[in-house]
């Protein structure tokens, strides 16, 4: 079947913070860039980020990038690649100032500088006193950041393809990526977009879990596209559960609440974090706090009739502080928990939040995979940034406000790298028709399926399995069973049916296609988690409660084909400074 083909210098799949920062770099340099997004750019989930973006500006407490680097390495439970972490922390101040120059409406201190607040895992002097490092626009930092980037892209005349869904990567016989197939939702047309560089910036996949702070559109599409085309997925067993999702609703209550002085209570009114993290208390790293909440509930100290949640107290704070610094949180608590946090504590529970793993890349956003010469060979023409990528700067556990930093630093770096690489690649490479046919076959199958299963039903089974078998604490039997179940679900995904056959804005079709991606994410997660026999960062194995650096100080690589695993070393050597060797991690 012949389909329409269009040609661009660069195609970016995703218009969140990562995709738009890269797009800006390329549009301003005069390249012909097409940015695809399932939703209007400002509706990307970066908009929901609340607490801040980390940078050692030192506006409130003394700070420097090296301390930030130490905290990030420690936070990652030593699984982070130290060259990438150094790169990110060194550039943090510069990219935040740049955002300010773009017009981002940060809150201000009395002296007119950018407002900063403390967040979990931030320290001065390599593990000393609490640092104040998160630059914030009230509790709407993501909104402020995303809208500012969209505005700059309007200025730079970036071409957006709004409500276009990327389907599959097109790779040639050499394995080079030469374009993508995409679905224009409004018309139902499938188009092949040819490009000299394809950048995946599709964000997270938190919708593989039942209770998630993520948006409906966070279905790990870039990971599905990569996995189906033979690119491995890295460190997928590491998912961050945020300690404070609204009980019953999943909506996030930012760590900024604890940064501004809020704290957690159990049913006895005890400030239990003092027991689990005597120094950092409520501002310990997220994996630590989420496990503490789970233990409190497990040991019967949860609140409410079912003793199944805990309370986040901030009513001791000044109402002015809440209204000025946490207005969005107050709005969320009133709407989704029916409590006004000025008067009452908010019921919370650990909730799936952030995917540390993703498509393996180097510092420049180039996707790397084992091929002929080693584990880090560049896949020509393919780049990834943002939550869908794994550099890895977050290792086994991400620190709060390091993700907005990640997407901006590496969005910019990838943009710059693409500009360099395009100089060496002046010509488009041929599109491989067989690769295009793969997308068309998938769509045909879906349109012609008879007596298939309902997409929502299979999706629900997937989310339930992930929630029950791969949560905050992981048990060997549950993981083994989980692998079997997810494999079965992946079969069911091949036989889903949609009743809606319309060409026009067919959201049933979009959801069915998203399920193809969710299942790749779920498989990678469950298989990788089952294999990692240690506890590190967010991966807490009940049967292997300790970190095991001898055997497991390495990154997992999951290959969709054959559902097999491989491993590659952690890059412990930073760019210029001394390495931080693994040591016991306490807060």
């Amino acid at each position: 079947m012949a389909i329409v083909k269009r040609k661009f210098d660069v195609v970016i799949v995703g218009a969140g913070g990562a995709g738009m920062r890269a797009a800006l770099q390329l549009s301003e340099a005069g390249f012909n860039v097409a940015v695809l997004s399932k939703v209007f750019p400002t509706r990307s989930h970066t908009v929901a980020a609340q607490g801040g973006i980390a940078a050692s500006l030192g506006n409130v407490t003394e700070d420097n990038w090296h301390w930030h680097m130490y905290d990030t390495v420690k936070g990652s439970d030593y699984l982070g690649d130290q060259d990438a972490i150094e790169f990110m922390c060194r550039q943090a101040s510069e990219v935040v100032y740049e955002l300010e120059h773009f017009g981002m409406p940060f809150d201000r201190l009395e002296n007119g500088k950018i407002y900063q607040r403390p967040f979990g895992g931030q320290s001065q002097n390599f593990g000393g006193a609490q640092a104040t490092r998160s630059c914030a626009a009230a509790d709407r930092t993501g909104h402020a950041l995303l809208h500012t980037l969209y505005q700059r892209n309007v200025h730079a005349n970036t071409q957006f393809f709004v409500e276009w869904m990327g389907l599959d990567l097109i790779r040639n016989e050499q394995g080079d990526v030469t374009g993508v197939t995409a679905l224009e939702m409004e018309t139902g047309n499938v188009v092949a977009l040819q490009a000299r560089a394809v950048l995946l910036a599709t964000g997270g996949g938190g919708r593989v879990f039942q209770a998630s702070t993520n948006a409906f559109i966070n279905t790990g599409d870039g990971l599905g596209m990569a996995a189906r085309s033979g690119v491995p997925l890295e460190d997928m067993e590491f998912w961050q559960f945020h300690p404070t999702g609204v009980y019953g609703a999943g909506v996030l209550i930012s760590e900024a609440v604890r940064g501004e002085g809020g704290y957690l209570l159990n049913k006895d009114g005890e400030r239990f974090m003092e027991r689990y993290a005597p120094n950092a208390k409520d501002l310990a790293s997220r994996d630590v706090v989420s496990r503490a909440l789970t233990m409190e509930i497990k040991e019967g100290r949860g609140c409410g009739n079912n003793a199944d949640h805990l309370l986040l107290k901030l009513n001791h704070l000044d109402a002015d502080v809440i209204n000025k610094r946490l207005p969005g949180i107050r709005e969320i608590a009133i709407k989704f928990a029916q409590v006004d946090p000025i008067d009452e504590p908010i019921p919370v529970i650990p909730t799936a939040h952030y995917m540390m793993g993703g498509i393996p890349t180097n510092l420049y956003g180039q996707v790397v995979a084992p091929y002929k010469t080693g584990p880090e060979e560049v896949v020509q023409g393919l780049y990834a940034v943002g939550e869908c990528a794994c550099l890895s700067v977050h290792g086994a556990n991400r620190l709060g406000t390091n993700s907005l930093l990640d997407i901006i630093v590496f969005g910019r770096a990838a943009g710059k790298q693409i500009i360099e690489d395009l100089k060496k690649n002046p010509h488009h490479k041929k599109l491989n028709e067989a690769a295009i046919d793969r997308s068309l076959t998938r769509l045909d199958r879906l349109d012609n399926q008879k007596d298939g299963e309902n997409v929502a039903q299979v999706g629900e089974a997937l989310r339930k399995t992930m929630q029950e078998h791969c949560g905050v604490f992981r048990f060997p039997d549950l993981l083994k069973e989980g692998v079997v179940k997810i494999n079965e679900i992946s079969e069911r995904v091949e036989h889903t049916e949609i009743k809606d056959k319309s060409k026009v804005f067919n959201t049933a079709r979009v959801e069915a296609l998203e399920l193809n991606n969710l299942v790749e994410v779920a498989l990678a997660t469950m298989v990788s988690a089952e294999a990692r026999n240690e506890s590190r960062g967010a991966h807490a194995r009940e049967d292997f409660p300790k970190r095991d650096d001898d055997k497991w100080l390495k990154h997992t690589l999951y290959f969709s084909e054959g559902r097999r695993l491989d491993y590659k070393p952690v890059r412990l050597k930073p760019l210029t400074v001394e390495s931080f060797p693994p040591k016991a991690r306490t807060y």
Binding site: H45, G103, G112, Q457, D500, S502, A508, E511
Partner: protein, 231 residues
Amino acid sequence: MRFSIYRFDPDKDEKPYMQDYDIQLDPADKMLLDVLIRIKTVDDSLSLRRSCREGVCGSDGMNINGRNGLACITPVAGLKEPVELRPLPGLPVIRDLIVDMTQFFKQYRSVTPYLVNNDPPPETERLQSPEERAELDGAYECVLCACCTTACPSFWWNPDKFVGPAGLLQAYRFLADSRDQATAERLDDLEDPYRLFRCHSIMNCVDTCPKGLNPTKAINKIKGMMVKRTV
């Protein structure tokens, strides 16, 4: 609970119709969006936009019992039955509850929606006092849901000429920013019988904004800035 929903698929329907759904509410169905998602699991052809489900992305603006709002932050409990759901008024319908927002975004883009400052940027941040920053509160938080603009009669009559409340709020966001240097150009651009002055302070926009913003106030401030510079 009965929901009466506007349906139209140009691929098969000659004209729009209302379809009724009777739904047994479940304790988890707190917001209108929860119910719509549940309806979609039984009738996958019902089409709507949604993403964040917490009122920050602006996707699911629709007309709910005659009033524009975001489904994800509209509690079902308080709604009068049958709950009548229609697409946002005043914009062409693509399908069901999905409207074509082209005109809305065109107006947004027409107000130079970015900071203009031609001085070479300093090495650190540009300074702004907390009081100057406070001027942006109520102006920068807009989620571009179009609930206000599509409730505005002036926009219905002149969608190509009148910027509309959301666009004007955005214009004000930059006029109010102490770092912006294009005040004169921005005001010149709006000094026109239509772009700004079609607003007759009918206040529909204020009533409807699901984020509690006040575009009319911003519009009046812009008018005030114009008066001030002519005297």
